[in-house]
Subunit: 405 residues, 2 copies
């Protein structure tokens, strides 16, 4: 079906992007928001810190009263109060007075510096200081991190551990985020069986795609459920139809049987619309994408490596952006350690092992060789206008790690 007209990768990606959908949003506890995407701006409800705060355990005092103090010329002050963490003092610090203060406690009125306790000795109310401090020393000023009323994070921000801390400090105990997409993965293929250590029936093949595809969906921030269908039009049609009603996205793998034609694409055509089938890429040429019940259906190859490549080319970006997170390949330049031929008019995703300087492609590149993906840590991407590279040419590399959620 597709061989007569292969879509260019660029066009195929654009066709997917033109049909981008977004998940709804939900309010969740901040404690569960790690690695989610903000669906609201964060406006600070507080200054952070909310007051001038001691950065050290020591004595809050008037810096000018310490000037000239040293180990050989100590000075004497009077302790008038003590503030533990979480506590505060109503006293105003006067000339030659000091207040005991814990790290994190509010600086009392009148004081403008904190002297570390290491540079003091104390006897009842009598404080001897052996060092001087400058005004502001060891004080973390109010609103140094966050100003009340300020926008501190944009909508669509990905929430890492550090954003969690900032959002908490701004006063949010819950946060509005995009829902995780729910993805149904339909594994087709009469030949597939579960992993077994026993001798397998003739013509049977272990179903590995169910594991890799589910893990890739999870690596895209989404939730995956697996279903199995045979190769028949009716079975696949029933599975795709049901999934398109109940899930946000449907992914199929394999299931093209000679007698029936390309079953999955025929099903999509029957139930909805095929956006494209067949892309000028390697691996992954038979990729198909369509829409059923307003849901995107990604028809991936049954060949393990082809399906992983197709996922990286089409599905990741769609799942990321569905939940408000921008996705693009993070291209790094590396020096090719081997000559790499390619074909004009086709985009190649060449599995390779890259370090901080070089990229060496994995030689065994069949679309069934899972090991080539296991040995690799990156792709060299060779675009359709390029006939390949000579040794030592600088090439475009994308690390697998950089594709993950």
């Amino acid at each position: 079906m597709f061989l007569s007209k292969l879509e260019s990768l660029k066009n195929a990606i654009k066709l997917v992007g033109d049909n981008q959908k977004f998940t709804e949003t939900e309010e969740i506890p901040l404690a569960e928001a790690h690695k989610r995407v903000l669906a609201e701006e964060i406006i600070a409800f507080h200054d952070s810190p909310p007051f001038d705060k001691s950065a050290m355990d020591g004595f809050a005092l008037i810096a000018e009263n310490t000037f000239g103090a040293s180990q050989s010329v100590p000075k004497e002050l009077k302790v008038v109060d003590a503030i533990g963490a979480g506590d505060f003092s109503d006293k105003t610090v006067g000339e030659n007075e000091a207040v005991v203060i814990a790290t994190g406690a509010p600086i009392p009125d009148g004081a403008n510096a904190v002297l570390m306790k290491e540079y003091t000795t104390v006897d009842g109310d009598d404080l001897t200081i052996y060092s001087q401090v400058t005004p502001g020393e060891n004080i973390t000023p109010k609103s140094e991190d966050i100003k009340k009323g300020e926008k501190i994070l944009d909508k669509n921000t990905f929430i890492r551990y550090q954003e969690l801390g900032l959002i908490a400090s701004a006063g949010y105990n819950t946060v509005r985020v995009f829902k995780k997409p729910r993805v149904k993965i339909i594994i087709t293929g009469n030949e597939l069986v579960e992993p077994t250590k026993e001798e397998m029936d003739k013509a049977k093949i272990i179903n590995s795609n169910q594991f890799t595809t589910k893990a890739m969906v999870e690596d895209s921030g989404a939730i995956a459920e697996i279903a199995h269908a045979g190769d028949s039009f009716d079975e696949v049609r029933e599975a795709v139809l049901e999934a398109s009603k109940e899930y946000d996205v449907v992914i199929t793998t394999g299931g093209t049987a000679l007698s029936k034609g390309d079953v999955v694409l025929d099903v999509i055509q029957d139930l909805g619309e095929v956006l494209f089938h067949g892309v000028a890429v390697r691996p992954g040429k038979p990729a198909g994408v369509g829409i059923v019940n307003d849901k995107m259906i990604f028809a991936l190859s049954g060949q393990p490596v082809a399906s992983m490549g197709q996922f990286d080319m089409f599905v990741r970006k769609y799942l990321f952006e569905m939940q408000g997170r921008f996705f693009d390949f993070n291209i790094q330049k590396r020096s090719a350690m081997l000559k790499i031929p390619s074909q004009l008019g086709r985009t190649d995703f060449i599995r390779c092992v890259s370090d901080s300087e070089n990229a060496k492609h994995v030689l065994n590149r069949g679309s069934g060789i899972i090991r080539s993906m296991v040995e690799a840590n990156s792709y060299i991407i060779i675009d359709e206008n390029n006939e390949g590279y000579q040794k030592d040419d600088m090439v475009d590399v994308v690390f697998f790690d950089s594709l993950l959620w």
Copy 2:
């Protein structure tokens, strides 16, 4: 306490490493093994593919019988059987015979190639072919990916999506992995309150470390639970003692109150052994590490940025390696966009924004400025023997992404 003798970062990391513990192993379903670490070698129970397999929908035949066939000079063959996916044929393909074959089906005896259906027409048993194939064409040879009996993955391999596929193909439906470490995080500090949008009581500060620290533990492949303690020796002692009995690792944050000294370290000293307290680094100088009940206790700062830095320096590596996964900083070279002063004898972790060529450090570097971590995507690491860098010097950069599980 620590100011008199700061440990060098290198020594501090070595002291942690000398006390590295490992989790036990467990057998789990392969479907749950994504991002776990293998605690066994994977030896293949099967060849993969388990037989010579058709890579296309088409006709299995004798390649030599197709020689010379073309659009203008078609050849005629006889169809003698049909094989769907998951099926097989007992027939032996003879001269000028062909067997209908689906992608993934076993090549029948006698055949040595597959001709794609696109290059044929068929009328009952009569097959007309318009193209020739070479011996082996469109056949995926048996054991191309995996040879039965071969070791395909080492113990301690991190299981990405591609490893899942390989392990499945080798016949494993369950797999032995290292258990996830269970980590108790004890947040100390009488001043801390939960995030609230309401006006806070004077001297209170929102507890943001509970969110960041839990997320960092999760980003290290481990399971975190939060507990709260005040600042008193007795409260902290009780919390650390209980946690050290029930968890694999204990992390504390904050809790140093003047009147009591450095409570957490005093507690560790009382219950067990302090390995070090105070490290020549910035941020994160007050880091302390000790052992109680044979469990590692990481005493992190209450200052948010300091505690994140300390986590990256000490805790990540420990949690990774506890479950069998090697960890080291993935150093990249970048060009400094600004001059960066540093101090001899101290290792600096400078928050910065790096791209594929340059690194520009975040100017506001206080250890309470969570925003500096939010703006940044990487550290510039300046070791203790280095007084800093000039603009355009090449510097060592570690991306935050590369620290994650």
